[in-house]
Amino acid sequence: MLTKRIIPCLDIKDGRTVKGTNFVNLRDAGDPVALAAIYAEQGADELVFLDITATVDERKTLIELVRNVAHTINIPFTVGGGISSIADVSALLNAGADKISINSSAVRNPDLVNELALEFGSQCIVVAIDTRYVDGEHIVHTHGGRKPTPLRTIAWAKEVEERGAGEILLTSMDTDGTKAGFALELTAKISGDANIPVIASGGAGTMDHFVDVFTTGKADAGLAASIFHFKEIEIPALKGYLREKGIEMRL
């Protein structure tokens, strides 16, 4: 059976992981390659690297990082942040990224989704959607959830699928950082309607939150950052727990 996926997310700045980590066996907690290798060894199904820098020099550092990660780990990984052209994507894929993720650039120029899907294939194009509940509606936001757009989240998710996105990474800015659980209702609506996988993000705090997002939330994958970095939840224990709860997991 196809499994649900557990995806740790690493925030990258100047080629280093930003948020601290709590891995005692990791000499350099800021080294994304070492952290990626540990997660792969622990049974992470996939990794997401989110580059939160943007200058040209820093992009070169990112390419180098992607090359090192690709050399080291043998599971799929996605790179996102600041990607806005075919050339950006080409450079990342040639460095060894398996997928890329676009967010603001897709909102600014929706045709970019079509262009990238046509050029590289849908399988490597992830569209990240940051959403916030405003005045009774789910609204797409950019700039880390600070800037509202005119787009309705549910309609935008449908649109990016039609335009050729291969996966949707849905982050609820309402639940992100709360550790109070994923946005189940919205995730279920979007994933239930979609014919492409939906990765749920934002709000993971306990193992049961993952149970909920895979059952009630109908998500295909669950993404989290700090709870993994600070070992509040360890991946082998989480996957074992999920399997006990009858959720298909790769162990």
């Binding site: 599971i75 799929p76 399988q123 014919n195 492409i196």
Partner: protein, 195 residues
């Protein structure tokens, strides 16, 4: 030992190259007939659309070259599909190395298409899965699949049972991406290099 990855318009093969490097294997990415014929092992990768890929192979004579190879050949993903008789993807006549057709997963409630993610392979036979346990997980991304047939050496279930791996004579194929399928995927590549 010389391993050749066949170069054609088949998308990104960077991950395959890195996987070979992790195994300490040297490789050459080429479409040159002499280089391909003189290789010890040949990898025929593929990401993308079947009819365009097949048209490119015909244009460059690779559709005749590949079936005539005598050394071990490993086709992956769309590469595997092009080694079958026929693909429903834009009605494509393929190379016919394996005696089976490739069909699209029909729209079925509860199943998203493409089949994306980790799924278990079972009913394992033959040398490439040596050392692997039944129900090892591999990473898949595809909308078309070869049916199960006498040449099937691993089965995966999604909508219907399909061929996760095929084998005939010196030809081997895998629908999944062994290069990013963890240590188990790496084992399969290592087994191929050790043939």
């Amino acid at each position: 030992m010389k391993t050749v990855i066949i170069k054609y318009n088949a998308g990104n093969v960077q991950s395959v190259m890195y996987a070979l490097e992790r195994l300490g294997a040297s490789y050459l990415l080429t479409d040159d007939e002499t280089e391909i014929r003189s290789a010890d092992k040949v990898i025929f990768p593929g990401v993308g659309e079947a009819s365009t890929a097949m048209a490119y192979l015909r244009e460059h004579g690779l559709d005749k070259l590949i079936p005539s190879l005598k050394q071990p050949v490993l086709g992956t993903c769309v590469g595997m599909q092009l080694m079958c008789r026929y693909s429903e993807e834009n009605n494509t006549t393929c190379m016919g190395i394996f005696d089976i057709d490739v069909r699209r997963f029909p729209q079925t409630p509860g199943y998203k298409v493409p089949h994306t993610g980790w799924n278990n392979i079972h009913t394992l036979k033959g040398s490439l899965t040596e050392g692997l346990a039944e129900n090892a997980y591999m990473y898949f991304v595809h909308s078309y699949a070869a049916d199960v047939c006498p040449e099937t050496t691993a089965v995966c279930d999604y909508v219907r049972p399909f061929s996760a791996m095929l084998h005939r004579d010196n030809f081997y194929a895998a629908q999944f991406h062994a290069e990013i399928s963890g240590n188990e995927g790496q084992q399969i590549l290592e087994n191929f290099l050790n043939l």
